[in-house]
């Protein structure tokens, strides 16, 4: 677990109390991230609980004063990707979501529904999905997002750019620029 590979820091009882309080305040963020990442509420909450337990167990490796939210997001995404690789099809492909998206593409007059948004997100690769969520929804800097995902900042920027292009193509096709980049990697 990359996020936990940090120097063990001496923790006082006060640090533990502060850590617990901060961990609890991070739970809603972890739930929001996990839900959009995997698209399944029950699975998302399992991910969050597992993340919280792992974070608590590894608390001695968390440096007080650093970004706990980023640290726990990293634990969650690593755990999610492990699961995703293990059960790729069940976790990630939702034929109903794909179906809804097709219907949505045919009718661009109506407002954007959250279910459409969810379905479009699930069509992205997990790397691009987490990139756009970290930057576009959770409000992390590119540097923090890159650290969470264990990639270079430039890689994070390019993942976000590609995720944006794909989402725009799926959800706002009328706004699409005439000359667009290919899907690329």
């Amino acid at each position: 677990m990359k996020a936990a590979e940090q120097t063990v820091v001496a923790h006082s009882a006060d640090d533990e109390v502060a850590f617990r309080r901060e961990l609890l305040s991070t739970l809603p963020h972890l739930r929001a991230f996990a839900r959009a990442l995997c698209g399944r509420p029950d699975f998302a909450d399992d991910l969050v609980q597992e993340t919280a337990i792992r974070a608590w167990s590894a608390r001695a490796r968390f440096a007080p004063g650093t970004n706990l939210r980023a640290w726990t997001f990293a634990i969650l995404r690593n755990h999610y990707l492990d699961q995703w690789r293990r059960e790729r099809r069940q976790v990630d492909y939702d034929p109903d979501a794909a179906e809804r998206l097709l219907v949505m593409e045919a009718d661009q007059e109506g407002p954007l529904h959250l279910s459409d948004m969810e379905a479009a997100l699930l069509k992205l690769s997990p790397e691009r999905r987490e990139a756009i969520l970290l930057i576009g929804a959770a409000g992390f800097s590119y540097e923090d997002a890159a650290q969470i995902s264990g990639c270079a900042t430039g890689t994070m920027k390019s993942r976000v750019a590609r995720a944006r292009a794909e989402l725009a193509r799926m959800l706002d096709p009328q706004d699409e620029a005439p000359a667009r980049d290919g899907p690329g990697q």
Binding site: P28, A36, F140, S141, A168
Partner: protein, 67 residues
């Protein structure tokens, strides 16, 4: 393709008030960008479900076993 979202990150990664971004930022940004934040914020605003009770108790007691 450059959208307004490219400026959202901030340079120090400091948590904003509750971290998440407001649902509406700029009128020039694409509709999906607002939809993305709306989706995220809709979960953020939910109360923590009862299924977390055991976890919360465990954290309250400061249990160290991982299960």
């Amino acid at each position: 393709m450059e959208f307004a979202l490219s400026h959202l990150g901030g340079k120090d990664g400091r948590d904003r008030k509750l971290g998440a971004l407001p649902a509406r930022r700029r009128t020039s940004e694409p509709g999906w960008a607002q939809g993305l934040r709306k989706l995220y914020n809709s979960v953020l605003d939910e109360p923590i479900p009862d299924s977390f009770d055991d976890l919360l108790k465990k954290l309250d007691r400061g249990d160290d076993e991982s299960r």
